[in-house]
Symmetry: C2
Subunit: 116 residues, 2 copies
């Protein structure tokens, strides 16, 4: 199949790409992770939680918006495995799931020349 002028090299790369594409379920999972951190409101929450564990209303105070909206956003982040929650009395305390989250944020900031 003659697709472009770069026969040998590109065909080899293309075959390699086809063989090494992650499974559809893995692609979906990865997309889900990135989607969950691709909304400004949710990113703000992550930057807030980077400073430490917070309850919902303190997150609201830190990032703005309504309690309901923040709660919906937290649910999405939790479902994606980005944040975790634990109850303590009346409050539910949220924190980042693991160090990967901060690492990804830092990489992206570096990519964009933002301070971190």
């Amino acid at each position: 199949m003659q697709i472009c002028d770069h026969a040998a090299e590109h065909t080899a790369t293309c075959d390699l790409a086809k063989r090494n594409l992650p499974a559809p379920s893995e692609i979906e999972a990865l997309a889900g992770v990135f989607k969950s951190i691709s909304e400004p409101a949710r990113l703000k929450i992550l930057f807030a939680l980077r400073q430490g564990e917070l309850c919902v209303l303190h997150i609201v105070e830190a990032v703005g918006g309504t309690q309901s909206a923040v709660s919906h956003q937290l649910r999405i982040l939790k479902a994606a495995g980005i944040v975790k929650a634990r109850r303590e009395g009346q409050n539910i305390l949220y924190s980042l799931s693991d160090a990967h989250v901060v690492a990804v944020l830092e990489l992206a900031c570096t990519h964009l020349n933002c301070k971190f």
Copy 2:
């Protein structure tokens, strides 16, 4: 302002969070980057380009879909600074912008226990 029981500690974290939130423009830019890599079709393209430079029709062959759809997706990735393009004769060859892209994918795969 008495928001929750964790007065001292959470208030301190919250104040820190408010002081260190990135500027709105930075948040928007970060969200844009993540949004651009949060669609399965675009993620597949990135995994393909991870193997090396490819022309559009080879990308189409590697990841599936129509030429038009892939071209639209490439435009989004390019606008977000995730991929770059150069013309060579009739073809336009796409490749990943920089090493950060692969690094982010790898971190996310690690996070999900996918092989990379």
